[in-house]
Amino acid sequence: MEEKVIFEKVLEILKPYVREAEDLKTATKETDILNDLKVNSSRLVDIILAIEDEFDIEVSDDEADEVQTIGDAVSLITGKI
């Protein structure tokens, strides 16, 4: 799967959790999920579950803790599929 496709899918997964959907339009791999998109930190659990379902992968708690930016999520997924 192309990295660009994974990136777009991650944006779609993030959509229900961001405070302003508009912010996703200008998001890049460097965009910080908690600070830039103002996602409630407790929702990271739900985002990881959604990533597991979408890409049919398993993400450990330690791996999930490393995800801060959209790029981190994309790299994690790329390494597992």
């Binding site: 959907a21 739900d46 579950l49």
Partner: protein, 424 residues
């Protein structure tokens, strides 16, 4: 200590027969029932297959909550949020933006629920039993904690005063109003959102169906199913929704020129101790009468000052006893009891939300000068027939001064509050 006067300046309602106070007032005046046939209860083989569920919840919710909040709200939390936001704006107050860091330190919320997050529990219990706890997601705690219906309000409205949930079964909503009233009266808060919320989950209603306390005889005629005071009552009809009042100190209301629906003169809560006929599910009449008399005493009025009773009146065998208790507590004969009516005839029994929903109805009646008709009691119970002339069958336009509202609940708990038209 000088106690402060407390008034109601905002009302919020999402009920089985209407959302919003304008539509709710019309529904009350028109005697519009919110009880409908519910196919999912038939599928689940409930005895009672009708109930009162607010309509268009998904559509309404999208108008009230941003997407990142909406998807973590269960049904009862949505009802509470909608009614609270409505009460807040109805009072002329502004909803703060999420990135505005100012906190309303003098405003709080006491919003109760009876059975709360049962719908969420119904979804998670099978997952836990299957060893899939890791898959529950992050929202379970906030949806199942008893305070779920109040906790979210803090963030939505930047409330910095007490934010809590009370729970006293079907007395909950009225008790919350009295608790908020006391807090403002004592000077601990200026504004309190008070009332109750309850979801419509079959997991909430199943226990009542199992107890055989729901009316199973009107599944084919839903609008006739909720029959308080009727000879053919047959049990209550479950309902859902939320009713929330914005209570405010008179000083605060006057300072900002707020519209005042009515004044809370006083209130009382007690328990009958489950003695003398009282039990987990039945009231000790002495407890009920003491609660009513205490509310009057606290309000500083006599029983002769009461114009209207908005009863608990659920459509069970307790209705005749309730009438007798009102007459005894108010020292009235059946023929000169204040006007009496039941909002549950229109919306069913909204359990933990009932007191909130019915207090909203009561304040509208006090403010607008009407008493809504209590439907489905053309055939009054024989023990209620002596009160015939005081039972309001059809809506009366009447400018009156004082309404007394009571709610009673499992556990033999009682609450009673006195509302009066504000005349300066």
């Amino acid at each position: 200590m000088n106690h402060r006067r407390v008034v109601v300046t905002g009302l919020g309602i999402i009920a089985p027969n209407a959302h919003g106070i304008q539509d709710f007032e019309k529904a009350l005046r028109d005697g519009k029932s919110g009880i409908r046939f519910l196919p999912h209860l038939e599928k689940l083989r409930f005895g009672c297959r009708v109930g009162g569920i607010p309509e268009n919840l998904d559509q309404i919710s999208e108008e009230y909550f941003p997407a990142d909040i909406l998807h973590v709200l269960n049904e009862s939390m949505r009802y509470a949020g909608i009614a609270a936001l409505d009460a807040w704006t109805d009072a002329g107050l502004h909803i703060p933006l999420p990135d505005d860091d100012r906190v309303n330190w003098d405003s709080g919320a006491i919003v109760g629920t009876g059975i709360g997050g049962a719908d969420t529990l119904g979804v998670i219990i099978p997952k836990v039993n299957e060893g899939r706890t890791r898959r529950l997601g992050s929202a379970v705690v906030e949806q199942t904690m008893s305070s779920s219906v109040s906790a979210r309000l803090s963030g939505l409205l930047a409330l910095g005063n007490q934010v809590t949930t009370n729970s006293s079964a079907c007395s909950t909503g009225t008790e919350a109003v009295i608790m908020g009233y006391e807090r403002i009266r004592e000077g601990k808060a200026d504004k309190m959102l008070c009332g109750g919320a309850e979801g419509s989950s079959p997991y909430i209603w199943a226990g009542f169906d199992a107890m055989r306390v729901l009316n199973t005889g009107k599944n084919e005629a839903p609008e006739q199913a909720s029959r308080p005071m009727s000879a053919t009552a047959g049990g209550f009809i479950p309902g859902a929704g939320a009713g929330i009042l914005l209570l405010e100190s008179l000083d605060s209301a006057q300072q900002r020129g707020a519209r005042i629906y009515g004044e809370i003169l006083g209130g009382a809560v007690n328990s009958g101790g489950q003695r003398n006929g009282g039990s987990m599910s039945a009231p000790n009449s002495e407890g009920v009468q003491r609660c009513i008399r205490a509310a009057l005493h606290h309000a500083g009025i006599g029983s002769e000052d009461v114009d209207v009773i908005n009863g608990h009146l659920t459509a069970t065998m307790a209705d005749p006893l309730e009438l007798a208790n009102w007459a005894a507590a108010l020292e009235r004969t059946p023929s000169d009891l204040p006007y009496i009516h039941s909002t549950k005839s229109l919306v069913g029994h909204c359990l933990g939300a009932a007191g909130g929903v019915e207090c909203v109805a009561s304040l509208l009646e006090v403010h607008k000068g009407f008493i809504h008709g209590s439907i489905n009691c053309e055939d009054l119970h024989e023990k209620i027939q002596p009160y015939e002339k005081r039972v309001v069958h059809h809506t009366i336009e009447k400018d009156f001064k004082t309404l007394i509202k009571a709610s009673f609940g499992f556990g033999d708990v009682n609450s009673c509050v006195v509302f009066q038209k504000y005349e300066g």
